[in-house]
């Protein structure tokens, strides 16, 4: 088994897995962020107009913060999946090299 070649192949497989999977997600984080901002602006206006009590407005604004937290959790999970794919792709290359050496 040529360790240097296998290492290069593993690295390339990992890079390929990371780059190849991200586009599969049909995300529009910008749209989610815009929506949060739009809601926050509306809540402020509704409070000023007396359509919401201060207590309701406070709760609703806090909900927007929680939406952003949920978005950040999504991003972290997706990054973990990409790392997982990259490691497993690299391992597949190693597995193939070892099998070839044994044969």
């Amino acid at each position: 088994m040529d360790a240097a070649n296998v290492a290069t192949a593993m690295l390339n497989a990992a890079k390929g897995a990371a780059a190849g999977t991200w586009p599969n997600i049909q995300h529009d984080f910008a749209s989610d962020l815009t929506s949060v901002l739009r809601k926050a602006t509306r809540i402020e206006a509704q409070l000023a107009a007396g359509e919401l009590t201060e207590e309701e407005a406070s709760e609703l604004l806090n909900d927007q913060r929680k939406t952003l937290t949920m978005l950040s959790i999504e991003v972290k999970q997706d990054e973990a999946i990409i790392v997982e794919n990259a490691i497993n792709a690299a391992f597949d290359v190693l597995w193939t090299a070892v099998k070839a050496a044994v044969a």
């Binding site: 359509e51 709760e59 609703l60 909900d63 939406t67 972290k76 999970q77 794919n85 070892v98």
Partner: protein
């Protein structure tokens, strides 16, 4: 030790290594769960039904907290089932964290309704839009697992 035996042992070690490597795919994130997505849709359906009833009550329907307690109970059961479904998998902390946050946001509606006795139209509109967005994020985060694999 005879050379043949040594060769055999070496061969066995290599085979063992090969078998170990074959089983070495790591799982950092729990697999996609279709039941979880169905449970999230159920939460959304029951929540939206309650909000719509409170916003535009049919004739003879009361919008007091007590009159809608059964709907809140149903939604609480839906939420518990959703969180439990997330907890059934290892390496699923992101979904557990998201659903716990979502459950808190939804349950605030009941707490506010019970405390104030009345929910304004503006509050109901904003809350529904927010909860629907959050359920959308939860479902998308789950389906990302499928899309990325």
């Amino acid at each position: 030790m005879p050379r043949l035996v040594l060769q055999l042992l070496r061969r066995c070690n290599v085979v063992a290594l090969v078998l170990t490597l074959a089983a070495c795919h790591i799982n950092l994130v729990a697999p996609y769960d279709d039941q979880f997505v169905n449970d999230a849709v159920t939460v959304q359906t029951d929540f939206d039904t309650l909000i719509q009833t409170l916003r535009n009550p049919p004739n003879g329907t009361s919008v007091t907290y007590d009159a809608n307690k059964a709907s809140y109970n149903k939604i609480n059961v839906d939420l518990s089932r959703l969180v439990t479904q997330a907890q059934t998998h290892t390496n699923n902390q992101p979904m557990i964290d998201q659903t716990t946050t979502l459950a808190g946001v939804v349950r605030e509606v009941e707490a506010t309704h019970r405390r104030t006795g009345h929910l304004s139209i503006a509050y109901l509109d904003d809350k529904q839009e927010t909860v629907d967005q959050q359920i959308g994020i939860v479902i998308r985060t789950e389906t990302d697992k499928k899309a990325l694999n």
